[in-house]
């Protein structure tokens, strides 16, 4: 009895939580004389506000964590989440990335996905670049999904193509 319950529970969990999301963020090539890789924050909000952080890219290599000085330039992320965190955080803090398309995969055991109750959400991607601009792109989505769903958006200055792929 006990064993059967456990077994069915395990089956249920594996069925329900096979979900994963893939986020693809393009760092665009910009024709500027002085280029620095952007700081980027990727997080999830719902109508009530911040739900979970997925990733934040900033200069981790500067000594004395000096790179954190500019995190406030990701001003919405800083307000919604960053200012309350003790950085660096494993699995969240990451190095800045070069020009190109970057894919991130968040499996069902990621704390951000574990926090998602069924409902409507937005994926937010915010980029801020030293001696450059700042841009915030929002991508609405529903959770969970019954079949694979893709959402797309594009920034116009500091961000290129943003894709969100949700697996049931």
């Amino acid at each position: 009895m006990h064993k059967r319950l456990l077994l069915s529970l395990a089956t249920a969990i594996s069925t329900v939580s096979a979900a994963e999301i893939k986020v693809s963020v393009e760092v665009p090539r910009l024709p500027v004389a002085e280029y620095h890789r952007p700081y980027v924050a990727i997080w999830i909000e719902n109508a009530d506000g911040h739900v979970a952080d997925l990733s934040v890219w900033y200069d981790l290599k500067l000594r004395d964590r000096e790179g954190e000085k500019w995190l406030k330039d990701l001003r919405q992320w800083w307000r919604r989440s960053g200012r309350a965190l003790e950085l660096p955080i494993d699995g969240l803090s990451a190095a800045t990335r070069p020009v190109g398309q970057h894919s991130l995969r968040f499996a069902d055991d990621h704390p951000a996905l574990a926090a998602l109750v069924p409902g409507d959400y937005q994926l937010l991607v915010e980029a801020a670049r030293e001696v450059g601009g700042r841009e915030l792109v929002r991508l609405p989505f529903s959770w969970p999904v019954t079949e694979q769903v893709s959402h797309q958006a594009a920034g116009s200055s500091e961000l290129g193509k943003i894709q969100l792929n949700i697996q049931p």
Binding site: D64, E66, G67, E68, K69, K72, R75, G82, R83
Partner: protein, 298 residues
């Protein structure tokens, strides 16, 4: 209306801050109000000027910060002018999130501005405040001519002739504040002193965003003050034609709501006028509160 306000501001500043007689708007401008990371410093300009936030008239001289310019204390030869009254400099009080006092560093007084730095070693909200002791101001007529007097209340009876007509004696109080947050905003520095006009945040002053509505409660002697006129002006006055200010009045709970149309540094001035219940010989009390607020782009 606008003219009255400006005159009043000039008077209040002149009376409550030891500045030149024709002072205009007094302000502090921090390099930033929101900081991340551990090595957090701000640099602050302090000045008195017409336009915000341009240092173009007079430094705001602060006790212990830089070398104060020398005042002309003696009357020019051949003129029968009274010597300038020696006045104490404004005292800047910087309060850390844990309530301790922080010293300003690298103080300097230039022709048009004072400058100092503040190191924010703690996480949370700091307060920079300038609030002097009350000052007393009188206006009256003597032999049909307008006279003014300023000094300590105890000296008023001696200084003002018994024959003064239309005598009005006012007590002027002022407070000027700036808030700066490193990391997560905190509320510890908002504990009111209970003296004069003060701001009690509903919306944290380091969490202001354009197109959003911020709410503040104004306290007079620690109690919510109704009917306080609050005027906010966006910086950058020199490069536009209109002042673009917003005026609101506090409700019965002392509360005002301001929706910021644009990001940037804003100068807030609130004033409360009391004419009843004052002890003789006072027949008016004017309390002002000013703050420089940074409104972020959404």
């Amino acid at each position: 209306m606008l003219k009255r306000l400006t005159c009043w501001t000039a008077l209040a500043v002149a009376m409550t801050l030891p500045l030149s007689a024709q002072a205009h708007r007094a302000w502090m401008l921090p390099s930033t109000t929101i900081l991340s990371g551990d090595n957090a410093w701000v640099s602050v300009d302090a000045a008195v000027s017409n336009d915000l936030f341009y240092f173009e008239h007079h430094p705001l001289v602060l006790e212990g910060i830089g070398k104060a310019p020398e005042r002309a204390s003696a009357a020019p030869a051949g003129q029968n002018a009274a010597p300038a009254r020696p006045r104490p400099a404004n005292r800047l009080l910087i309060t850390a999130p844990d309530g301790s006092e922080v010293a300003a560093q690298n103080g300097h007084v230039g022709k048009y501005r004072s400058v100092f730095d503040v190191e924010l070693t703690q996480k949370g909200t700091y307060k920079l405040a300038i609030a002097g002791a009350p000052r007393y101001f009188a206006r009256y007529k003597e032999n049909g001519e307008d006279r003014r007097w300023m000094g300590e209340l105890a000296e008023a009876a001696q200084a003002i002739p018994a024959t003064a007509e239309d005598l009005q004696i006012s007590r002027m109080e002022s407070r000027m504040e700036v808030f700066i947050t490193s990391g997560q905003p905190t509320d510890s520095v908002f504990t009111p002193t209970g003296q004069g006009l003060e701001l009690q945040p509903v919306t944290h002053p380091n969490d202001l965003f354009a197109e959003e509505t911020a709410e503040f409660i104004f306290l007079l002697d620690g109690n919510p003050a109704a009917g306080v006129e609050v005027n906010v002006i966006p910086g950058g006055i020199r490069h536009r034609d209109e002042l673009n200010d917003i005026t609101v009045t506090s409700d019965a709970e002392g509360k005002v709501a301001i929706t910021w149309p644009q990001p940037g540094f804003w100068w807030l001035e609130a004033k409360a006028v009391q004419e009843d219940g004052l002890e003789a010989p006072l027949n008016q009390r004017r309390a002002t509160y000013t703050a420089t607020l940074e409104v972020m782009a959404p």
